[in-house]
């Protein structure tokens, strides 16, 4: 069978072909109809949906972080500012070979293994695609130009400006102003939705000090901006913008010059100074040494730096000594003496004959006089309240305290803010301990023994107070009972601010106002009453203060304190014998206000100086206090005591 021989029916074949062609034509039309149906489904039925999806693709609302409010001292000196830095950032989606790029970058800029580690952490944390992640903060100008020159070899790598917190005084304000640092997970979780929204564009948050307490005022309100982004996440256009509202600028009572002076006066010790303006309660200076550089924390402290700060168990630079409790020692004596007067346990004349120790009735144990413990035998002799204050006679206060009892002592001393935190905007300050019978039962689980009262009478035993509490108590003393609550904030955006006291304290009104003058006088004697260098006069500070400055133009009231170190950390004790003996030394205190006993000028400054293991209140702490007060009254306020007494006399005459 050869097909070629078969007869071909051309007509039939053509009909068959045309039939098939027609079927194909119909199929084509059907298929196009289906296609148009599908397009209509996308473009008409689901238009709204896809239109929204398209906008979601391209339109991005992004946060515009507000500028953090500035912090000024009382003279307008910047304590915390915002400095532009230039960061090296990476959009990993645009980097072809991340490891190779990082290696190359390492040859251009300083890039430690830790930088890379932290960068990888950040990458995992903010995995919003196409966002830039900082690799290195704060490039130097030279590094910036090296990266810029090679930018064509570095797709996805950019240099982005950012404003970060800077503390121009470095260590000086670390404990008072505090610092900001990257927001951590716990802080984010603590926020409510509104707050979290407000921090959408913010990387940093106040961690301590003023930065922490006034975070809400300083932060400001986040702004928004709608941008059109392409598929690579690059911003093509800005469509809409709501400007952020910058945080409030805060002015503090702090005087940076006094802060510097206090730091310099403290020198190289572990210790603290708190200086308060008695008229307002404003904190003029607040120093805790050793400090640390708060700037280290802003852009992420390296673990090496951090472990150096944390592992220094002796110096504990992160520990704010100015608001930490220590036994106040003899610095409480003026307050207890005042209690004795007010509560009629003593009068100006009452005196005892001090044998150098005190014995409770029917008990053979002798409570020794700490100020005399290095001397052999003997006491202060016939001693009244004034002498007991300026010579810091323990025996007198043992006897007074024993008669007064802990209840009266507790009640009176609490009027000076001991045992509580009077500060209005230092809410993390410790409260110390003003012991009472109840306190001991609750916290020690034992009944109160008479010996406890004796220890409390000389600021030892259970009694603990922070340098800030002692400065506050001294300010109230200087104010003759007008209670001022310590505060940092002076003004918000140059408008004077009055922080609202949560639990205002009543002023202390004595039955006889002259008691104040008596105590002031007694404290002035601590500084100004000439003494000889013998053990009996150990409690006075004359030899280390006024004696060295015969032309001292003003009177200064003060009280020394040399507090026994009650507890020493066991690990330190075993680690290093030299350190142990060093850490065993007494803490040195000095509280003071000035000018004192001045008819024309109110006290301008009240302060507490604390030197850890400083050994001697009179020998170590008192000269520090004098130096600080000199600087404040003579250099900063430039009070001319000779002249001003005249002038103020005239002024007070004309105004009254």
């Amino acid at each position: 069978m050869t097909p070629k021989l078969q007869l071909k029916d051309h007509e039939a074949e053509q009909r068959l072909f045309i039939r098939r062609l027609s079927i194909a034509g119909v199929l084509i039309l059907l298929l196009f109809t289906a296609l148009i149906g599908k397009l209509a489904d996308l473009q008409i039925a689901n238009y709204e949906y896809f239109s929204a999806r398209s906008d979601d693709n391209r339109l991005h609302s992004q946060y515009v972080p507000p500028m953090r409010g500035l912090l000024f001292d009382r003279n307008g000196e910047i304590l915390a500012g915002n400095q532009p830095i230039f960061n090296l950032t990476v959009v990993s989606e645009q980097v072809e070979n991340l490891n190779g790029t990082l290696q190359f970058l390492g040859s251009l800029v300083r890039l430690t293994a830790e930088d890379i580690d932290q960068f990888r952490n950040r990458m995992q944390r903010n995995r919003v695609p196409f966002t830039s992640v900082p690799l290195r903060y704060a490039l130097s100008d030279e590094e910036k130009s090296r990266v810029a020159v090679n930018s064509h070899l570095l797709p996805g790598i950019a240099i982005e400006p950012q404003f970060v917190r800077s503390y121009p005084f470095n260590e000086l304000t670390a404990h008072s102003v505090g610092y900001v640092s990257e927001i951590n997970r716990e802080e984010l979780e603590r926020m409510n939705d509104g707050q979290r929204e407000n921090y959408g564009g913010t990387n940093h948050i106040g961690k301590s000090g003023i930065e922490f307490i006034y975070e809400e005022l300083l932060h400001g309100t986040v702004g928004y901006e709608t941008v059109e982004k392409n598929n690579l996440g690059q911003v093509m256009r800005r469509l809409d913008r709501t400007d952020p509202i910058a945080g409030h600028n805060l002015t503090l009572h702090m005087d940076s010059r006094l802060q510097i002076a206090a730091e310099r006066a403290l020198g190289d010790v572990r210790g603290a100074v708190v200086a308060i303006e008695p008229s307002t309660g404003g904190i003029l200076a607040m120093v805790s040494k050793p400090g640390f550089d708060p700037n280290l924390f802003v852009t992420g402290i390296t673990s090496k730096d951090y472990s150096m700060l944390v592992n220094d168990v002796v110096n504990t630079p992160l520990y704010n000594r100015s608001i930490s409790p220590y036994a106040p020692g003899s610095t409480v004596k003026p307050f207890i003496g005042l209690a004795g007067l007010e509560l009629n346990y003593v009068d100006y004349e009452y005196s005892i004959n001090d044998p150098g120790y005190f014995r409770l009735p029917n008990v053979s144990y002798r409570f020794g006089d700490w100020t005399l413990r290095t001397a052999i035998g003997g006491g202060h002799g016939q001693t009244n309240l004034q002498k007991a204050i300026y010579q810091s006679c323990d025996t007198f206060f043992y006897e007074l305290g024993n008669r007064m009892g802990i209840d009266d002592m507790h009640g009176f001393l609490s009027r000076f803010g001991l045992g509580e935190n009077l500060a209005m905007d230092i809410n993390f300050a410790r409260t110390g301990v003003l012991p009472s019978i109840d306190w001991k039962r609750e916290n020690v689980g034992e009944p109160w023994y008479p010996g406890n009262t004796l220890h409390a009478s000389i600021g030892q035993g259970y009694m603990l107070a922070t340098p800030m509490q002692m400065a506050t108590a001294t300010a109230i003393l200087a104010n003759e009972g007008r209670v001022v609550q310590p505060r940092m904030l002076k003004a918000v955006d140059n408008i004077p601010a009055e922080p609202v006291a949560e639990n205002p304290v009543d002023n202390l009104v004595l039955s006889d106002h002259d008691y104040w003058h008596f105590i002031h006088e007694s404290m002035t004697m601590v500084v100004h009453r000439p003494t000889s260098n013998v053990f009996r006069d150990y409690g006075g500070a004359y030899l280390t203060t006024a004696a060295l400055d015969p032309e001292m133009p003003y009177k200064m009231a003060g009280k020394t304190g040399t507090a026994q170190v009650v507890a020493i950390d066991q690990s330190i004790r075993s680690s290093d014998d030299i350190q142990v003996s060093e850490l065993n030394k007494d803490h040195a205190w000095f509280i003071s206000f000035a000018p004192a006993i001045n008819d024309y000028i109110e006290p301008k400054i009240a302060l507490a100086v604390f030197v850890e293991n400083g050994e001697s209140g009179s020998g170590v702490a008192a000269p520090i206090a004098k130096e600080i007060i000199d600087t404040y009254l003579l250099d900063i306020l430039q009070i001319d005591f000779g002249q001003s007494q005249q002038n103020l006399h005239l002024i007070s005459q004309t105004s009254e």
């Binding site: 070629k4 072909f17 296609l35 148009i36 599908k38 238009y47 949906y49 693709n57």
Partner: protein
């Protein structure tokens, strides 16, 4: 002008033609077809200009390729059908030879090893030509025998189709392989292959597809199938193209966002926006109306192809003209259906709209063949 007598008189070589006939007639150009193609090309360049973000060099290059394509089409239009018919086997064997050559010295591009890049010549894809060579041979083979074809003829025809298809599959170019296969199938369908065979063929395919899926399909092919059924199983990976493409089309609505305002394409959300996915750009910017206009242009060209297949006088011309037209339709439909999510993604351009090189040239060669058939195929010469 459709008067067969008139046609008979004027058929012949260019030298015979008298000056009374217009130029397009003398050069065997089919005016409506040329007009349709020119309209498609201009519209294509217009869409491409926006899709390429106003890149003049891309548009200029595309325009040059189109001009070269037009001229190639006119040259091919001069070929005598009888020459093609007589030498169908030789052309087919030459095509197979080229495919074999590709397997040896072929150059890989976009994952398919289908290009020949000889020094001094522009690189080209021999597999593209097989879409016309296979129907050419089948038309030649089947038209000499009684239609509808018998079983033995079908077996031979199947072999003639499957050998080049297999070679193209070996090049890892599934899209073109399907097109070559379908171009042969179209010839068989038009030749009147019995429906029973067609249905059993479809049934076999249906039964075989799971086996293919589980044993033969490569990972990326499986992915495409899965993505077709659920683009959101991997929205940023395999499903990204189709999701973004649908967003572009859907957000265009009826009227579109306006020429040059397609956010999806201009912000680089649509990958391949000036090649395979150019329809998404058109649909986003010019809306459903723009797509309907394009479908209208295609329908016009298809209708002219059908007309040519209808008027030619011998079965060879009919089969070839019909197959070429249906292959062209398949191209258009598969691309549009894939971009809109009606079919799985197969890498095929949108004819005359997508930026491309060889596909435009081969399309014009196909249309050149149509014109040649139109002029030469009317009088039975033997």
């Amino acid at each position: 002008m459709n008067n067969p007598d008139f046609v008979r008189q004027t058929s012949g070589t260019l030298a015979d033609s008298t000056t009374r006939h217009p130029l397009w007639w003398q050069i065997h150009a089919d005016l409506p077809l040329v007009a349709g193609l020119v309209a498609l090309c201009i519209f294509g360049l217009f869409v491409l200009f926006s899709a390429s973000d106003g890149d003049q060099s891309i548009v200029t290059r595309q325009a040059m390729i189109m001009l070269v394509g037009m001229m190639t089409m006119l040259v091919v239009g001069q070929l005598n059908v009888q020459f093609l018919r007589r030498h169908a086997s030789s052309i087919y064997l030459a095509g197979l030879g080229m495919l074999g050559l590709v397997l040896i010295i072929g150059v890989e591009e976009n994952g398919a090893r289908s290009w020949i890049d000889l020094p001094g010549l522009p690189s080209f894809q021999p597999s593209e030509m097989m879409k016309f060579i296979v129907p050419l041979l089948l038309a030649s083979y089947l038209s000499r025998r009684q239609l509808p074809p018998r079983f033995l003829q079908l077996l031979i025809a199947a072999l003639l189709i499957l050998v080049p298809v297999a070679l193209v599959v070996l090049q890892n170019d599934t899209g073109t392989a399907i097109m070559v296969f379908m171009s042969g199938v179209f010839a068989l369908l038009l030749a009147g292959i019995r429906w029973g065979i067609v249905l059993s063929g479809l049934f076999t395919l249906l039964l075989a597809s799971p086996a293919w899926y589980f044993f033969l399909a490569q990972e990326h092919q499986k992915n495409r199938i899965l993505t077709f059924f659920d683009p959101y199983r991997d929205p940023t990976g395999a499903g990204y193209n189709i999701i973004q493409s649908q967003i572009a089309i859907g957000s265009g609505g009826v009227h579109g966002k306006g020429y040059g305002n397609g956010a999806q394409s201009h912000l680089d959300f649509i990958p391949e926006s000036n090649t395979d996915f150019i329809l998404a750009v058109l649909a986003e910017e010019l809306g459903l109306l723009g797509v309907l206009f394009l479908i209208g242009l295609y329908l016009f060209v298809l209708a002219r192809g059908f007309f040519i297949a209808y008027i030619v006088k011998d079965m060879f011309s009919r089969l070839l003209a019909g197959s070429i037209t249906l292959t062209f339709f398949l191209y258009v439909f598969v691309n549009m259906a894939m971009v809109s999510g009606l079919l799985p993604v197969i890498g095929l351009p949108l004819p005359l709209i997508s930026r491309s090189g060889t596909s435009i040239l081969t399309l014009f060669i196909g249309f050149g063949l149509l014109m040649s058939l139109q002029r030469h195929g009317r009088s039975p010469s033997s």
